[in-house]
Amino acid sequence: MTRITEISGLEILREEILNKRSKDRTILRTCISTGCKAQKSLKVVEALKTAIMERGLQETVEIKKTGCHGFCEMGPIMVVEPQNIFYRKVKPEDVGEILSTLNGSGGVVERLLWKDPVTKEIVTHERELPLYVKQDKNVTYRSGKIDPADIEDSIAAGGYRALGMVLNSMKPAEVIHAVIASGLRGRGGGGFNTGVKWKICSDAPGDMKYIVANGDEGDPGAFMDRSLMEGDPHSIVEGMVIGAYAVGASQGFIYVREEYPIAIEHLSLAIRKAEEYGLLGNDIMGSGFDFSVQINRGAGAFVCGEETSLMISIEGKSGMPRSRPPYPAIEGLWGKPTIINNVETLANVPLIISKGADEYAAVGTDGSKGTKVFSLVGKVRNTGLIEVEMGTTLREIIFGIGGGIRKGRSFKAVQTGGPSGGCIPITKIDMPVDYDSLREAGAIMGSGGMIVMDETSCMVDVARYFIDFLMYESCGKCVPCREGLKQMHQILEDICEGKGEEGDMETLSGLARFMSTASLCGLGSTAPNPVLSTIRHFRHEYESHIYDRKCRAGVCKNLFEYRIDPELCNGCGLCRLKCPEKTVKGEKKQPHSINNSKCIKCGICFNSCKFGAIKIT
């Protein structure tokens, strides 16, 4: 290991790393990120290690444990390089066969290739996968390609090059100017211009300043930040050092959710390694600039993603928000000027420096520059992590990249922005996805969670879900949020239980106005969004719950029944066997029936019927 003591040392080290690498090795890029790890990818790695040793392939085959590739649902994922062969759902018992194809015969293990569920076409190469073809990977480019635990792998792939450029030839004001010119806006939810924020902090008087990376990704249904922290932690560290240099900060904090243990592990390692290599700490790359970073683990409070709460949490207290102004850029941690940026925002910074602001700003729409990472999940065929140019339409994302809706069902809505966001209906499917269009549609960009819903999703239940979520997460400091959410929750609960009344929607809208005007922080002021957007776009569903006492999606238990269609039921008896309450009756090979007075609507029969004979009425 060589500590870099002058800026030119970084390029020399990069050359050295690249030179010492054998060119004709086969590399097995195996994902060990949360999604693949949950599907036992570490066992695959272990099996690979053993098999490689047994076959004496140590010199020619290398396992690279990477972060997220994006196609999480297909995990464990392995890509064989340089051939770029994409294997999915790899099991430990498959590794022998995979290694056998590497002896120059050029074969592939066909059963592990991805098959398009619709066209049945088999795709061999990673670069040809529909989920990847239409993406524009910038921020996530290195995730899945490099070993996040190996700083040399990051450096070889261009890591810290932008920092070198900054320390070598840019004044802090020039860095800020470049970030302003790039048009970068906060990727965590607010969408505020990052460079402007930096300028305010830089101009604020004070000899002690701080920079905070917000990795408290609390929005349910979102995992972009997790994947980035796990897969390319050095890009975040690099962005932080550049930001610290620009505003004159000497201490940084990365606030990460406790629910993300791998992210914490990889970031901790990245910090330690960056310090060893002279890329963090005192006298960074011999430039005389000092900056250190520590990690703070969250402890399961959603409100701590809000910047003022987050700061109070870093100070070691209960993270309750305070009113703004003063904004953190002027008066933040311990009263000192503080920059708080989302981790994805910070990971964009090195790209801006290395590409140049103009080239960066050439991508995207007028008001939203660059690319954005989204987690595409829910009832869509291909789920995972995607990165697209700002302004890409919802249709391209959901039907192009996502491959449309599962099980041949139809698209109902897409929810963006987490609990502060909203639901966008089919009529807006051709809308470009950028900060301003989403806001116009009653949603927000938020951190980038995109949850696709089909006809089995009840929009009143979705509203209730988010209000329920927020009610439990409201810190209780201000009345509008604390009491408003409680009232909204009660009304929605009543509607979902079949006790809705005329005027409920008006009461909800009234409460929403009051909460958005009078709440102390963003959690409360945006809390009504899921209710407002569902009332706006799915009023008929509220009406059918309130007036007809029906939940057509089959979600609200009091408002529907399961019925077995005798035409479609062939009497296989699976539902009868699986029903925990023994409410299904019927003779073998004869149509069955459900005793609705005893049915608890657990949905086990509905999900297990292979013939679609169980209907919602």
Binding site: E258, A299, S318, S608
Partner: protein, 153 residues
């Protein structure tokens, strides 16, 4: 209460009040919950009122003041999991274990908790038993999932 271990934790965090959350997280890792005597000890050593500590411990969901079971089952209730059937899974766990969210079975085998989002949304609905993530869980699969932990003795 392991006094030595707690002293070591306080030492690592330099008795700093700003490290209070991390101190409590590390202390909780010892017994998987925070016993009252540990909180009293930390309060005394850190010269910080017990009320302040109690405020933090009750504010953050990650802390538990009551003992947890051998296994902690966390039902992910993120949006994707909710749509995929997390409420039904939770109902089924309530029925099978005869406990509610936040409770522990009488034999101290399982604790049941809900979590806002585990960030494994592409595998929804997810139920985690300690570090094991179970993907695409539906109510019908839960009994079998639990039996793997019940038999293991």
């Amino acid at each position: 209460m392991d006094v030595e271990a707690i002293d070591q934790i306080l030492e690592i965090h330099e008795y700093r009040h700003s490290n209070m959350i991390a101190i409590l997280q590390d202390a909780q890792a010892l017994d998987n919950y925070l016993p009252e005597e540990a909180l009293r000890y930390i309060s005394e050593k850190m010269e910080i009122s017990l009320t302040r500590i109690f405020d933090i411990v009750t504010f953050y969901k990650a802390f538990s003041l009551v003992p947890r079971g051998k296994y902690t089952i966390r039902v992910c209730c993120g949006t994707a999991c909710h749509l995929g059937g997390a409420p039904q899974n939770l109902d089924q766990l309530n029925r099978l274990l005869q406990i509610q969210d936040g409770e522990t079975t009488d034999d101290r085998k399982f604790s049941l908790e809900t979590v806002n989002c585990l960030g494994a949304c592409a595998l929804a609905p997810v139920v985690a038993v300690d570090e094991d993530y179970h993907e695409a869980v539906n109510a019908g699969k839960i009994e079998k999932m639990l039996s793997a932990y019940q038999e293991e003795e």
